[in-house]
C-alpha cells in the first residue's frame, strides 16, 4: 500500500491516537510509562484542530487560546470529531519538547527544541562553542522527540488491537461526556 492510500484509508488511526493521547494527558497528571523510554509527561497546549467526515461531509474546528480550557474542542469531541492536529509538550528528565503533530499525515511542525540545545548553553567556560556540536545536539533532540512519540503511538496501537480496547473505549467515552458536562 502506498503512502497516499495509507493515509486515505488509515488516517483515522493517527486521529484516534491523538485523541487517545489527549485523554491520557488528563489521567494521572499526564504521566505515562513507556517500556523503553520510561516515564514521560504529556501536556496538550492551547491549539487543536478537530475533524469529522470526508469530502462534502467534512467538518473542521480550530481551537486555540492562551487561557481557555478548549471548551469548543471538548464540545467538538462530543459531536463525534477527532483530533487531527494538536500542540503537545512532552517532558522527560526535566527536558521539554514542544511541537505540533498532524495526525493524518504524521508530520511534526514547529518543534521547539529544549533549552539545553540553545547556542548560549553550549558555550564552554572560555566562551567558545562548536557549530558542529550544536547541530549534533539538535539532531539528537529531534530524534528523541520522534522516538518518544513513536513509542507512544506503539503503545496506543497495542491497546487498540488488544482485548482491552473495549474497556479503554468506554473510559474515553466517559471522559468525553464527563468533559462535556464541565463545559
Amino acid at each position: 500500500m502506498n503512502y497516499l492510500d495509507d493515509i486515505g484509508d488509515y488516517g483515522f488511526v493517527g486521529q484516534e491516537f491523538l485523541t487517545w493521547l489527549w485523554f491520557k494527558s488528563e489521567q494521572r497528571g499526564g504521566a505515562v510509562t513507556l517500556a523503553e523510554a520510561g516515564d514521560i509527561a504529556i501536556t496538550f497546549e492551547k491549539h487543536m484542530v478537530l475533524e469529522y467526515g470526508v469530502d462534502d461531509y467534512h467538518e473542521r474546528v480550530i481551537c486555540s487560546g492562551l487561557n481557555t480550557q478548549l471548551n469548543e474542542a471538548r464540545t467538538a469531541l462530543r459531536h463525534g470529531k477527532k483530533l487531527e492536529q494538536a500542540r503537545i509538550k512532552l517532558s522527560q528528565f526535566n527536558t521539554e519538547y514542544i511541537f505540533t503533530f498532524a495526525a493524518r499525515t504524521f508530520g511534526f511542525k514547529n518543534i521547539v527544541l529544549p533549552r539545553s540545545t540553545q547556542p548560549e548553553t553550549l558555550m564552554g567556560p572560555d566562551g567558545t562553542g562548536t557549530e558542529g556540536q550544536e547541530l549534533n545536539d539538535r539532531i539528537e533532540a529531534i530524534e528523541t522527540v520522534v522516538r518518544l512519540f513513536y513509542e507512544l503511538f506503539s503503545l496506543f496501537c497495542t491497546v487498540r488491537t488488544s482485548a482491552g480496547w473495549d474497556e479503554e473505549l468506554r473510559a474515553i467515552r466517559r471522559w468525553v461526556h464527563g468533559a462535556a458536562e464541565r463545559v
Binding site: G11, V13, G80, N110, N136, I139, I142, R160, T161, V176
Partner: protein, 201 residues
C-alpha cells in the same frame, strides 16, 4: 527555520535498501556528482541538487561536515522557473489576436491554440528568473531513516525521485500503518488493518 537553527518542521522517511560496502566513499562521490547546478543563465525549468546544509551556494563536504557520526546532513536545493497562468493567458490572447488579424480568420483550432500556448509558455519561461528554495535533510545511516525539513507533498515527491536517482535507494514516507507495523505482531497488525474507525462520542 531549519535543521541548524530555530524551530523545525519535518516529515520522516524510511530508507529502503543498503549502501555498498564502501558506504562513506559512495556517499561523498554521489553527493558531488549530484551537486546543485545553477540554471540562472540557462533555459531549464527545474534544477535539483545538493548543497551544504543551509548554504545556498556550493557543496563543501567539510563545512559543515556532511557526514557526522551516523548522520548525513545536507540541503536539497530546488530552483524552478515559473510563469503565472494569468500571464501566459495574456500573451496567448495577444498573439492570437495578431494571428487572427494576419490570416483573416475568425478563430484558431484547438490544436493551433495549444501549440501557441506552448510556444508562449516556453518563451516566457526562458525569460523568467528561477526561484531558489532549500530543504534540509538529515539521514540517519544507522537507523535507515531520513528527515525532510520544510516542504510539502510536491517537494516530498521531488526528493523521493532525486534520492532514488542519486543513491539508488527508495524513500518510504512514514505513515500510521507503516509505523504501527514496526511494534506489532503480524496478528495485531492485521487486526489494525481491518479495524473500523472507533466512535468516541
Amino acid at each position: 527555520m531549519g535543521l541548524a537553527r530555530g524551530s523545525v518542521s519535518f516529515v520522516r522517511f524510511k530508507v529502503d535498501g543498503s549502501l555498498p560496502a564502501d558506504g562513506e566513499d559512495f556517499l561523498e562521490e554521489r553527493l558531488k556528482l549530484y551537486t546543485f547546478r545553477d540554471i540562472d543563465n540557462h533555459t531549464d525549468e527545474l534544477s535539483v541538487g545538493w548543497v551544504s546544509l543551509g548554504r545556498l551556494w556550493g557543496l563543501d563536504l567539510n563545512y559543515p561536515p556532511a557526514l557526522t557520526g551516523d548522520h548525513l546532513v545536507a540541503s536539497l536545493r530546488i530552483d524552478q522557473r515559473k510563469v503565472a497562468p494569468a500571464l501566459i493567458n495574456k500573451f496567448v490572447q495577444k498573439e492570437e489576436a495578431v494571428i487572427l488579424k494576419q490570416k483573416q480568420i475568425p478563430s484558431l483550432t484547438r490544436v493551433e491554440r495549444r501549440k501557441l500556448k506552448n510556444k508562449v509558455r516556453a518563451h516566457l519561461l526562458a525569460k523568467a528568473v528561477p526561484v531558489a528554495a532549500m530543504y534540509d535533510i538529515c539521514w540517519n545511516l544507522a537507523e535507515s531513516s531520513l528527515l525532510l525539513c520544510g516542504g510539502n507533498a510536491i517537494i516530498e515527491g521531488i526528493l523521493e525521485d532525486f534520492f532514488k536517482q542519486c543513491f539508488d535507494l527508495i524513500l518510504i514516507r512514514d505513515s500510521p500503518l507503516e509505523i504501527a507495523a514496526i511494534g506489532l505482531s503480524e496478528e495485531q497488525a492485521s487486526s489494525l488493518r481491518t479495524a473500523s474507525p472507533a466512535v468516541f462520542a
